[in-house]
């Protein structure tokens, strides 16, 4: 993420998916998927439950290797990278926002935001400053010391978004980020994400089943029975 409103000028697509399939023993949740997402785009992936959205997101994020095809993030092909190399790539260029927040229950809001920085050599002060600044930006500066159990659903998701941004990623993956929130809080979170995309040029790839959310994005992909189509 850039501090200015500069849109990424890299020529490589942020996400490049070519002929990707994933086969398990008896099912193929992803079949011959292919699409590109350019730098700074906000793209939603729509589809009903069980259509393969989360599996595709897992493949693009390098959680799993595809059975066929290739996936590149910002020109870096994921195929053949080891688990640790994929983790380092995610650390460098990817942020994640999950439906279930996945905050560490024993850490405060500030520490949760700083969590991705823990394995990195960095002074405690710098780490706290970066995490604190992000919490201030999302309006949770006053909740920095609270454990997740003492935060509301919306506050938890905002902490999770701050955590996703603390590594200054180029791409933000969101898996049903409002699925666990009431509609008002969901709107707040979506505003936060669209502002990030428009003002800071962060590429967003969001999995959702909500067509209203899709209207906020630059374009939408649709997934049905493992196949991806453009709407």
């Amino acid at each position: 993420m850039n501090d200015t409103n500069e849109i990424k000028s890299n020529n490589n697509p942020a996400i490049d998916v070519r002929h990707v399939s994933k086969h398990f023993a008896t099912v193929s949740p992803v079949r011959n998927a292919g699409f590109q997402i350019q730098q700074g785009e906000f793209v939603t992936l729509l589809g009903p439950s069980g259509s393969g959205k989360s599996t595709l997101l897992g493949l693009i994020a390098g959680f799993e290797q595809p059975s066929e095809g290739t996936i590149s993030l910002d020109g870096q092909e994921l195929t053949g990278l080891s688990e640790d190399e994929l983790a380092l790539l995610r650390r460098r260029m990817v942020g994640f926002v999950f439906q279930a927040f996945h905050l560490i229950p024993t850490l405060s809001g500030l520490e949760n935001v700083a969590f991705p920085l823990y394995p990195i050599k960095m002074s405690v002060q710098e780490r706290r400053e970066r995490a604190g600044n992000l919490l201030d930006k999302i309006g949770l500066g006053n909740r920095a010391d609270h454990l997740p159990s003492r935060l509301s659903g919306g506050e938890r998701q905002r902490v999770a978004i701050a955590r996703a941004l603390v590594n200054e990623p180029d791409i933000l993956f969101c898996d049903e980020p409002t699925g666990n929130l009431d509609s008002a809080t969901g709107k707040e979170i979506l505003n936060l994400l669209t502002n990030l995309n428009r003002e800071q040029g962060v590429t967003i790839f969001m999995v959702t089943h909500d067509r209203e959310i899709a209207k906020l994005s630059d374009r939408s992909l649709f997934m049905h029975d493992g196949e991806v189509t453009t709407l």
Partner: protein, 418 residues
């Protein structure tokens, strides 16, 4: 890179898991410390009756029962051992010194007394009574017609230093009183006289001559100092040398007298420790695996936000090390306290009648003698090795188990919403 904040938050934030892990390690450490210290204390306790008299073993011969209880007689458990037999024993490898003594009963019209003949300068046996003189003085080399009396017996008999007493028909003057109550009862007597005079009395006693041949330099009780780790070997060699009627007492003899519980504790302490330790390894490994399973989402999140497998394993390693270090320290403290409590317990080690014979037909003659020994807990090399290596092995088990489960974990689990 380890983050202290996260480490402490995991230890303090998941109190139940921390308490279970630390408690388990502490319990195992405590049990192992207690078993190790107890086994050592019992081992030392069994050696006490012999240590009291400065020996590792005693040798006696079983003989015939005297035909008539008149004048000096030899109890059936202390038949003569010839000077030649004693010399053969002293030439066995591992023998450091042999102290000879003569124990006999002396019956007279007035009563009965147990008498021991000793050499005052001996390094083992009744000569060690020199540390228990309460009044008067100890016999010295060259003394003649002088005796020492056991204080309780002397009080009952109304005797003290300077009084005359008759032993085997010969007059002796009491020069000192000794208290035998604080030491082993092996070879203790009412009266102690120079060995040469005791040998003379036995050699000329008509009742003894009827069933034994007692030559010059013969004795009937040997107190042997030998290499501690060879005592059992030497004991069997002595039995081979002297024949079936030989009775050799070693620390192991006292173990057998104490019965199965102590023998089992001794013999199987290593096995029990090993089983406890194996159980601990399994439980620690299982807990570490359970901790990983419990944190599937958390570990998935770590991977998702860029923690490498090495980062996660290092974090788990340090967490488990903390549990193990804290648990071990706690266990050592608890084990130390338990051992301190056990050190107030005494074991009554029975002294066989053979080693301190009294006539059965006299009052108190069938009373079992015991040596009360407090269980002294002395931390040794074994405990040090236990405290050093056990945490390392437990830690390795935990890390191996955790690593195995982390490797198996699918990062995509974090995308599953339930």
């Amino acid at each position: 890179m380890i983050n202290g904040k996260y480490l402490i938050s995991e230890l303090t934030g998941r109190r139940r898991r921390s308490a279970v892990n630390i408690g388990l390690v502490a319990l195992v450490t405590c049990v192992l410390v207690c078993i190790t210290l107890l086994a050592g204390a019992l081992e030392r306790a069994f050696q006490t009756p012999l240590n009291d008299i400065g020996a590792n073993m005693t040798v006696q011969m079983v003989g015939d029962v005297p035909e008539q209880m008149a004048g000096p007689v030899l109890p059936c458990s202390v038949a003569p051992i010839s000077a030649q037999q004693s010399n053969s024993i002293s030439s066995l490898p591992g023998i450091q010194s042999i102290s000879r003594a003569v124990l006999f009963w002396d019956f007279s019209d007035d009563g009965f007394q147990i008498v021991v003949g000793l050499r005052p300068d001996d390094r083992a046996g009744p000569a060690l009574l020199r540390g228990s003189v309460t009044e008067g003085r100890m016999l010295t080399e060259g003394d003649s017609s002088l005796a020492m009396a056991e204080i309780t017996w002397a009080e009952k008999a109304g005797l003290g230093p300077g009084d005359q007493i008759n032993i085997g028909g010969r007059p002796f003057t009491i020069i000192g009183l000794v208290d035998t109550s604080t030491i082993s009862r092996i070879g203790t007597a009412h009266l102690y006289i120079p060995l040469a005079e005791a040998q003379d009395i036995i050699a000329s006693a008509p009742e003894i001559a009827k069933i034994h041949t007692f030559g010059p330099g013969d004795s009937n009780l040997l107190f042997i100092q030998a290499d501690r780790d060879k005592t059992e070997d030497i004991a069997s060699q002595i039995k081979q040398l002297l024949g079936d009627k030989t009775s050799v007492s070693t620390p192991d003899s006292f173990k057998q007298l104490l019965g199965s519980l102590f023998t089992l504790t001794q013999r199987f302490s290593g096995m029990i420790s090993g089983m406890v330790f194996l159980l601990a390894l399994l439980l620690i490994g299982r807990n570490a695996a359970a901790a990983v399973r419990e944190r599937v989402m958390e570990i998935g999140t770590m991977k998702a936000v860029g923690w490498t497998g090495r980062d996660i394993r290092l974090q788990m390693l340090v967490e488990n090390c903390m549990y193990i270090v804290i648990g071990t320290l706690l266990g050592l403290i608890l084990g130390g306290l338990a051992a301190w409590g056990l050190s107030f317990v005494s074991v009554a080690i029975p002294i066989p009648w053979d080693m301190a014979p009294t006539p059965h037909f006299l009052p108190g003659g069938e009373e079992q003698l015991f040596r009360e020994v407090r269980l002294l807990m002395e931390p040794g090399l074994q405990l040090f090795l236990l405290a050093f290596f056990m945490p390392i092995l437990l830690g390795l088990a935990a890390v191996w188990s955790a690593s195995r489960n982390i490797t198996r974990l699918q990062t995509s689990e974090v995308l599953r919403y339930e």
